[in-house]
Amino acid sequence: MTAKLHSGVLAGMALLLGSALASAGLTLSPVRSIELPDDLTAKPIPKWENGYIVRYEIEPVAAVVAYDRNGRRLFRTPLSFPEAERVLPSGVAASRDGRFAVHGSAFHADGLVVPFVAWLDAAGRITRVLRWTDYAPFQLCFAPDGTLWMAGWALRRPGEETLPDHDILRAYAPNGELKVTALPFSSFATSARRHPAKESRLVANDKTLLFYSRTAGEWVTLSFDGEILSRSPVPPPRPDIDILTGFVLAPDSSVYLSAQMRLDGRKRGSSVLRWDKATGAWREILYDNTGVVAVFGAEGDQLIVSRRLPQFDWVRID
């Protein structure tokens, strides 16, 4: 009797879950779930990369926090540097071999501001810090060989009317050596104000690197040597997008993104879309006007999504 009741309750829950996530004839069925041991309210959105969840905090103190694929916290490393009154992290990345990187800005008490990227080892110890005076990264991602790729822009000196041309992408070896620069700013038909790196995404799988510029409406695939393999315009996923909440390059090179829409002022809806190579357009595979579904990553034939942080679900696309 009890077993029947339990199975009935479970079946009901599964039905409810399925119906909540069903859309466009597709259902995302969770096959695995984890929950991080931290409250992520008012925290920057975490990132899934190479089997790790990594995120940063800006208050009460700047910090990098990493978790393994089971949601176990690996470390929480406060970020502070000599002479820096304040450190403001802006993005993070995790490598396949369990190293991490964070980029951001450091503020001196007298007004000096510098962009930096810091490498951390598997225990969360900072191993190297790189500072620029002419470049600031916007997005980070690790290639399979541990090279750290970044998308960013040149810094404009006071008095300079125009932004100098520069390569948007840079790649640094684990020893800090600059290996590759690629993708000139001048090759995009956008202004400095709508720099291609703004609101961009930089992701990698075993085969390629993908740079998606939402401002330029274009994406570029590159080899890990920096050679441009393809370049094509990409239409906006939806006209009513409020926030791009996720962007995923799957192992089979399928591309997914998630977005949040503001519906009637207060209500929000979520959409998960897959790039359809055949038609050259985004195809919505899920629409949810009750929650906030976002994609974070892909493993095998499964997408890693979250409907309510700090929980993550592995779902198979039926």
Binding site: I45, S105, R131, R193, E199, K267
Partner: protein
């Protein structure tokens, strides 16, 4: 003899026990200026003692015209009342002594709500943006979701004119 040996070895043993512990604690907290073990380099891969050495005259030198303490902006939200309350509460303690600006918060600007980003001249109002997740039962489910805190509507020129602060968004510049 035995007492003398004890007098020498006991402090030595204490140091031997404590030193690794102290180093471990510092190592696990990202290092400090005195005991940091990481390498800090500039873009030419040359070692530097701190992040600010050799940055005189760089694009991000705001000294003399932008005292950080005087430019603490106010968190602003003009979204729905629900979100406003939530965001204000969530960010009340978030006081970044940085060069940031109140962004355009009108819905036409892509739904930006809060801007704890660094917006300074050299970076052309960029350098960082945050998408933050909110979920608070006290405010109802309408507040669940991600809030874009970006700088899409920032304008580099006004940034310069206003010494890197944007007191009010010029809606005509939104989305440009």
């Amino acid at each position: 003899m035995a007492r003398k040996t004890l007098r020498v070895t006991l402090p030595a043993a204490c140091v031997a026990l404590l030193l690794p512990a102290i180093l471990w604690v510092y190592g696990n907290h990202g290092g400090s200026s005195a005991l940091s073990t990481y390498l800090m380099v500039d873009a030419d891969n040359h070692r530097i003692p701190d992040l600010f050495t050799g940055t005189d005259g760089t694009p991000v030198d705001l000294r003399g015209r932008l005292p950080i303490q005087d430019h603490r902006g106010s968190w602003e939200s003009k979204g729905s009342r629900c979100a406003e309350g939530l965001v204000r509460t969530a960010f009340r303690a978030l006081d970044i002594p940085a060069v940031y600006a109140a962004d355009c918060v009108q819905s036409s600007c892509g739904g930006a709500y809060m801007v704890p980003h660094n917006c300074y001249c050299g970076f052309d109002c960029g350098g960082g943006y945050f998408n933050m997740y909110f979920s608070d039962p006290n405010y109802g489910s309408c507040c669940d979701g991600w809030y874009y805190t970006g700088e899409e509507a920032c304008d580099g020129c006004r940034c310069e004119e206003d010494q890197c602060t944007i007191p009010d968004c010029d809606e005509s510049k939104c989305g440009q």
